[in-house]
Assembly symmetry: C2
Homo-oligomer: 329 residues x 2
């Protein structure tokens, strides 16, 4: 069991041109899997052909919307593993265009589990969700028994998508596992806009040499995950049958305040930071401190993050400097 | 405060040609409200122009799908009260056609709250949901703090719809209240097919003189609500500002086994009943005993059901006998 299970196997990565998706595709291809990608390249969502640069001959890329039933049915057929990374992740966008968020998060996910039920019920399905389903933490660290209370449209739709996977496991024996991701950062993250979270916003400004701006006190705690650790989690979940039908948090034993996060960037990039009051539109979706417990996932799979914040940010800064004109400028 | 608040006010009832919707429309019209209805008349969902027979000149009926943005915007404008009864309620249908369930329960609800946010943010919105969001009870009676664990597609989509209402209350101050209905029965229920639950199935067979069939032991407990009591709850919720932003169970202080339910029908209609083993497809969605606590709603509004099971079934049987050729034959 483990990473050599992917050699020669067929894997589909939805959203495989995006941030986490493309890093996963690279790992799967490196492990010898035959990888297919479906990605709608919805503008501003982070999908980018450049993310798979150098793999053009080894990965089968289909640019299509998952709501296109024919494409989805064709692509799900015969896959051993399906990693569902496609989706809208921006909390702000979900409030500005709730219908699109519903379409790409709920409707697409339902079509995926339906396609699997109909023609590939033995596929292993890994679904990526978000800590946003918990809303403001009522206790810390947040474990999977924490009450659900989404505070934006994205959290609601992501929650419904989780339930589709779990229901199809329960009723149709689909081998689905749900991972709730927390703040992920790293190479190939879309950082030119604020849609992939606070880590990307800070990285972008630091790389451009701009002063970083923290809202509130900057003391809000977060558990950041470097993208390679998230990819490891996805691969482990897919090769651990005891995970099927369950929901797991990712997370980190290291919690950092936003001030700590930007201080590392200051050291790496030589930029300054300032702390300013919350703008009212951000106050609404601020959740205060957040960090999760990933004990259940560690117990099931042995996973824990290997990359500390300083190393992860150093690797990220190096990557983005090498590809500055594509991701930053 | 109370029922006279509706005189001269404008009220929109979505799904107003359906079972509960049409009974609500009749009450609102009787209280002097100017009532509009939007209903898509989706086949088999229970919508029926006959349900508003005699009110043709007093109620403005628009046959349109709520996903039709233009119709929805037009109809939400200027309403004082909006009661959202439209939706798909059949658990079996939600598993057979999950995409339609998603469309009519999630997408339509999101469009409704969006339309209100955009052009009628002061309307009072009453949303009808279902006990199905709880899944199999972990304790009884089920109160609103009970864990959420939907066991069919309908429960998932109804849950997302609830969250849209609550989120729009929290973020945009929409005056939304969510009621989770339990087994409702009574006049104008669609009983020709099994889509409106076990009460309708039994009523239909009893009215036709057929033997009633109970699955399992017949000892499963339920809390049945007569439709007039549910209409009272909807009206009370709409006129109780302390309810806005909250979720409430309906329910009944009287719990009855399914055997008790059919025994009353046996007395009223002179039919027999039999107890047979569970078919496997029904076993999957059986939730065992269910009864809810409506203490929170009683405390907020003073509501409690006024109609006991024997009286409610007698009134139902009388109604359906009077309109036998339309609803039963």
């Amino acid at each position: 069991m483990g990473r050599d299970e992917f050699a020669g196997k067929r894997a589909l990565v939805t959203g495989g041109l995006g941030f986490i998706g493309s890093n996963l595709v690279r790992s799967l291809a490196g492990l010898g899997a035959q990888v297919s990608v479906i990605d709608a390249l919805i503008p501003q969502h982070g999908g980018d052909l450049y993310n798979l640069e150098g793999l053009e001959d080894r990965v089968h890329v289909v640019v299509a919307d998952m709501r296109d039933d024919a494409a989805l049915r064709h692509l799900t057929r015969g896959q051993d593993f399906i990693f569902h990374l496609a989706g809208q992740v921006s909390h702000g966008d979900s409030m500005r265009d709730p219908g699109l968020d519903l379409a790409v998060n709920c409707t697409a996910t339902m079509k995926l589990v339906e396609a699997c039920r109909a023609q590939n019920p033995s596929a292993i399905l890994i679904h990526t969700s978000t800590r946003q389903v918990y809303g403001r933490p009522r206790y810390l660290p947040v474990d999977e028994a924490h009450p659900i209370d989404p505070i934006d449209v994205n959290g609601i739709n992501k929650l419904a998508a989780e339930y589709y996977h779990l229901l199809y496991h329960r009723v149709y024996d689909l081998r689905s596992t749900v991972l709730r991701l927390t703040n992920t950062y790293g190479p190939r993250q879309q950082i030119k806009n604020d849609r992939q979270g606070v880590a990307g916003v800070f990285l972008h400004r630091a790389l451009r040499g701009d002063t970083l701006r923290l809202f509130g006190t900057g003391k809000q705690l977060r558990d950041f995950n470097y993208v390679d650790d998230v990819v490891d989690a996805l691969l482990l979940a897919a090769t651990t049958p005891s995970c099927f039908g369950r929901v797991f948090n990712l997370g980190s034993p290291d919690r950092h305040s936003l001030v700590e996060f930007v201080s590392v960037l200051r050291d790496l990039c030589g930029v300054e930071y300032e702390v300013v009051p919350f703008p009212s539109d951000r106050q609404l979706i601020d959740i205060g401190d957040y960090y999760g417990s990933f004990d259940a996932f560690r117990e099931a799979t042995g996973w824990e993050p290997k990359t500390n914040l300083r190393d992860g940010l150093r690797l990220s800064v190096e990557f983005f400097r090498q590809h500055f004109h594509h991701y930053v400028a």
